[in-house]
């Protein structure tokens, strides 16, 4: 199985489906990571912050076992200001090159506009006659974004649960790489909140820890 996770920002892939990625890898899968935005010098990020982020990405890629990393380097919190057509072109190249069978995307109801735009772009890349490799598209939930949607239409109502018990502690460990993104509970991006969510999803599916998704499209 060739699995591609689309992450608006580094850390979304761990928060959303880190355990499932570890499991796919353990099951012999090939993993791709499409990072949509990134810090750049042009956009005024300090060099050392950029360097640190690059190191984090390298470390996480190694710990998860990503086979390919695609880094678009677009401006964080700025995707809505880019022409959608350009974004589709960029994603398209990755989809053609990596040829994923399974794709993980952010939830369309996430509060962050980067997540919403990313969803829209992937939707345009989910047509079978354009990207015939794609067999399954799943939306993940991103702690600190998905649960803050204000409209009922934004609700994340999972219908697909993956047992991540053997990978859960490792997932939390990897999340620790993104030190600067983590805070102290009840801050949502905290180990304790992540653990609570994994257990809550686990209780819904019969596992000690689970990740939950919305299946958007599968064809077999």
């Amino acid at each position: 199985m060739r699995t591609l996770v689309v992450a608006p920002h580094p850390d979304d892939e761990i928060l959303g489906c880190g355990g499932t990625l570890l499991r796919r890898k353990a099951e012999g899968g090939t993993l791709g990571w499409l990072i949509v935005t990134g810090m750049t010098a042009e956009a005024g990020w300090p060099i050392d912050r950029i360097q640190q982020r690059n190191d984090e990405i390298k470390t996480v890629a190694g710990m998860i076992g990503f086979d390919e990393v695609f880094n678009l380097g677009l401006p964080p919190a700025g995707l809505d200001a880019l022409p959608l057509g350009d974004l589709v072109s960029s994603f398209s190249e990755v989809f053609k090159s990596f040829a994923p069978e399974e794709v993980f995307v952010p939830h369309h109801g996430d509060v962050h506009s980067d997540h919403r735009v990313t969803f829209d772009v992937v939707a345009a890349c989910a047509k079978w006659f354009r990207y015939p490799s794609v067999r399954r598209v799943l939306a993940y939930e991103t702690v600190s974004e998905t649960e803050f949607g204000l409209c009922r239409e934004d609700a994340f109502h999972p219908n697909y649960f993956v047992d991540i018990e053997p990978y859960h502690e490792r997932k939390l460990e990897i999340m620790g790489v993104y030190r600067s993104e983590l805070g102290v509970f009840p801050f949502p991006r905290s180990v304790r909140a992540m653990r609570a969510l994994a257990e809550w999803r686990g209780a819904s599916a019969g596992y000690m820890a689970a990740e939950a998704f919305q299946l958007l499209r599968e064809r077999q």
Copy 2:
């Protein structure tokens, strides 16, 4: 894979997922058929009509290759008048006995009340801690019921497509067993309408013929 199809009335299983059942069988699966309603002498059905229906069921069971058939014999168009608790008990026995991993159910938005009630009963049988065998629940569309829901909430929005090209003609042939249920196009339960739907769903998923479903729950 142990697959159970829940059919409010005989023929729903063919209309909704006849091709997929044939495919599961060809792939080595074990098939169960839970028929919820049936004609009975007590309810005033003529003996020869009952006999004919029983023959149809036997013939279809053989053509599909069902390994087990569960016939509850409840009154057609009468499920809403039965206590839901009793229905859950009846279904529960079948679920415990057959121990399905995959379950096919009617769509919750179907116009026919037997379909809606059947959906509600299966929902009560989809909790992992009661029926741990169940791993996947899919809602099928029933020509002549699903497309007649009047509310937007009733919309069938498929997210799971199965390639049935090698089984499509056989599916139509089996449907022919239910001679009395079929009519002349544009009557919905006609070979031509069924073929149009299979091609339309196929075009949505990249297959010459497909059946479309809504994934309600999967855990793996």
Copy 3:
């Protein structure tokens, strides 16, 4: 504030809003408990089971500090078989007698039919010109029911969060009274799952532990 919780079965009130009830009490509120179903000898429950349940109710009533308990004693898993009009009459008397300002009800998307019916009955009792005391109606989530709704329309999308940090441990302790309803994690009705949910809802609202609700109607 006069607060009434409507519980299809004893324990729903604790699972759904036990912490909030303790808080209301601590803030000087008056609490009512409408228990819809109950075990009866007529329905074949053994005497000692009935006695045990009655003891549990008495104990819980004391620990929460309910000022009034209304026990309709209707058959569990049997509400759908009763005429809705009769149910409305029964509820109506309680609403007129207790005159609640705030009402807690199960979520309309819960899997259990008793929960769905209870919701419908309360909806009929939420009209201002029939029950002018009612100012606020909130739907609670019931672990083991609310998260098992199969349709997107069933999603519980909370918009109202209550800080229950000072009352959380006491809530779990009171839940322990219903010994027979509790199981071992990942069973949903377990202390660990309840704790996970409370922390997850807390992270969504900035509290160490929270209960989450859907506000259905408020008038002020």
Copy 4:
């Protein structure tokens, strides 16, 4: 145009579409009135109350100009306790006999269970191959029921507006026949509330007074 209004209780037809009925009549249409429930001596209604109600029906039928009145006389607030199959049979006869092209039904999200059940029954009577006369089905809003739905799914979101300016005063006058159903504003079934709604719907559509509907199905 043959127009049939389905009224769970007498007065729903005026509240929901009295102005449109008057307009249809003025335009040369043929009008049918299907009254689902009624007061009966068997159900314990006093004779004089029954007589008064019958008089009201007769008066309203004359004032609107109904060409046919179908009175099923089923128990008010009791439709949910009847087998849906029986209800479909009763409605079916009326649909076959009157052969409506246009049908007005209550909204599926109304709080009153009689309204919800009536909706479900009409939905079963909207299949073209069973009732080929039916060309258009519209849901009306019933003051005091439609605006009290507690779920977002219950929302009445009109997409079809009818100018009733020339008929508005007459509609209010006819509503006056149901003296016992009317109250004093802000009671919803009051002349002032009805007027406010008609003006509000009018402002949405460019008319001095309008009735608003949800088109459920049209075929032409």
Copy 5:
């Protein structure tokens, strides 16, 4: 009847409502065609491709019998990058000039961003006090866009069906003008897929072939 179809790209008008347009024309209607995007030399399209497209538009205009064609020539796959206010101004002029009574628009849930933006712009042009000529707005489904929406909120749930039997073959013939857009089944923009859809919609409404729409607003 003055009917305006708004097509993000030439061919959407045929796919979505070609049969209905032919029928409106046959019934004596006046037809307008608002083409939103177009190939331009500035945007780098080769001259002969532009010429071919212009010829196609001319041919189709003749075959349908459009009385007026409005060609905005905006960049394909680029509408989201334009200020919505400018788009509203452009559409506004067409609406004022053509003064349509009936308007056909793409579905808001289509995957293509040009379709979504077009929908939003037309929504802004559907207010009665700005464009009093508009009496009816219908959303059409565009094969290869509408069925690829990934969210349940994107579902196309038709409530308005038009019998296009006498015009169906002609519609397919006209679609042939857009040779480069067509492919081989199961490609969605193929004659066979279009035929399957027309028959499927026909079976839902009692016609040999039908086009299906969502009525968004009508006032009469």
Copy 6:
């Protein structure tokens, strides 16, 4: 209570929650007004029109009793063309400076893109860990925008009603300051339409006049 109303254009705050603002003030609250767009000389507005608008704002601020007014002066009908990140920054400063507990925002389904964008920006400012002062977010309805949403998902389904009887006439008087925005009934922004809506919402909640809202989030 510190209450902030976010108004895409001056007059939205009166239309949407003018009565509630007057009531909050009367109850001792502190009121903030965030005006998102404004007329500027750079954008070509005539000086006297700008002056008049500024006078109107000053007058209304005095009549309502706003304690603070924040005027972003962004281009009307142009918010969608601005980078969302910039808008979030601008709003963020206001939220940090005013520290609102209660926030009133436009409905996400409003037709005007300025309203939709404003909603999205506020949603990003409703996270408790960024703006801990915020306890309650309510969406208001804006006559002439909210009722023109074409999709069912756009429906405004109020769940929170405020009695504004003592403030209703004053609200209408203040609206009169925006002379140029008002028209003659059935124009939606007319005193008569506003009165009809207030009475209609009142009838839904038991008040002579009411404003209706959708509660999006509350934490207590």
